[in-house]
Symmetry: C2
Subunit: 186 residues, 2 copies
DNA sequence: GTCTATAGCCCGATAGAC
DNA sequence: GTCTATCGGGCTATAGAC
């Protein structure tokens, strides 16, 4: 733990993530990113020579890894389909802090955000839907219907986050999460 | 029709709406707004002395009126609940151009957008949910369940728009719209 | 690897002629 | 009611000392 004045890359990424996830890509000015990380702008450029776009890309990768651990991984391995889907739902609630955090697929998919940031979003969403569909199929649902339900589940999560943010209340998100598993297995 | 070089307020609002709805509040620079309307920045300030914030507010009011006509009004008057909800769904498809347009409740609810713009969003969403719930109740569904389904319908519309935008495909939106009415009346 | 200072540009907003 | 020209400031990004 030498040089305690040097912030670790994971701490730094967590701070950057917090900014991008609350104000979006265009709202995340370098001044704000510097203030929230405690670093000078030049120090941020030392760590991310590509500037804001590279920071957003790193944040996207980091959030993707976090999502893989907190949400996707819970759909793997042993356990009944209901157990795994319930574990995923708990992971979703944790990942979005009970509906208080926005999804990067929402904030980063807006026109004007660089394509290098927007393009990877589709893959993440497809991976999530595919992982859900696989477990729903394990519950005995036909492949096409499983894919349809998985898409609907992701649609509901994204929509619940938007509605909760616009209403300033986490209740729509929690009500949506309450029914997510039952509707996938209905 | 004197002075054809003067753009009408409704045409002007439509152009402004197009910009805000595609790039969001922070992405809508005055240079872009001026370019898309064909007016100089100073001319925009003549019509909207409050600047960008007043333009966004006017756009919000205009889109709200459009939504009231294209979506909400179809839930009133005669017809069976299914007929009215189907008409609303068709209005939603039209209003969001088959899933290609974003919802202002999504774009304008992000942190950093002025409160005067963010605050009115909640009322619009509540009004929409209430109008749906009223028709679902007319179909014989209990009040609490009707409110729950109405919230879920709005959640699905918002989520389908986000997922479609992030995937670059209108298919999730259309699949969601296909099932909207049946699920409200199930 | 961090900092201060600053370049150069685009931002929102305004002055003033027509 | 429109325009050109411009202001002050915040933006992304960089230079260079330590």
């Amino acid at each position: 733990m030498a040089r305690p004045e040097t912030i670790s890359r994971s701490d730094l990424l967590a701070r950057l993530t917090g900014v991008f996830r609350s104000v979006g890509y265009e709202g995340a000015s370098l001044a704000l990113l510097a203030r929230e990380t405690g670093l000078a702008k030049a120090a941020l450029y030392h760590r991310f020579p590509g500037g804001k776009e590279e920071m957003a890309h790193a944040v996207l990768n980091d959030v993707g890894r976090d999502m893989a651990v907190t949400v996707l991984r819970r759909l793997d391995g042993a356990g009944s389909p209901r157990q795994k889907l319930s574990a995923m739902r708990d992971g979703v609630v944790e990942f979005y802090d009970g509906g208080k955090l926005s999804c990067l697929a929402d904030l980063f998919s807006v026109e004007g955000v660089p394509d290098a940031i927007r393009s990877p979003l589709a893959g993440g969403i497809h991976a999530w839907m595919a992982a859900i569909a696989r477990v729903v199929e394990q519950a005995g649902v036909g492949p096409d219907e499983a894919v349809r339900r998985a898409e609907d589940a992701v649609v509901r999560v994204e929509g619940a986050l938007v509605v909760s943010r616009a209403l300033g209340s986490a209740m729509p998100f929690h009500r949506t999460m309450e029914r997510l598993v039952d509707d996938l297995l209905a």
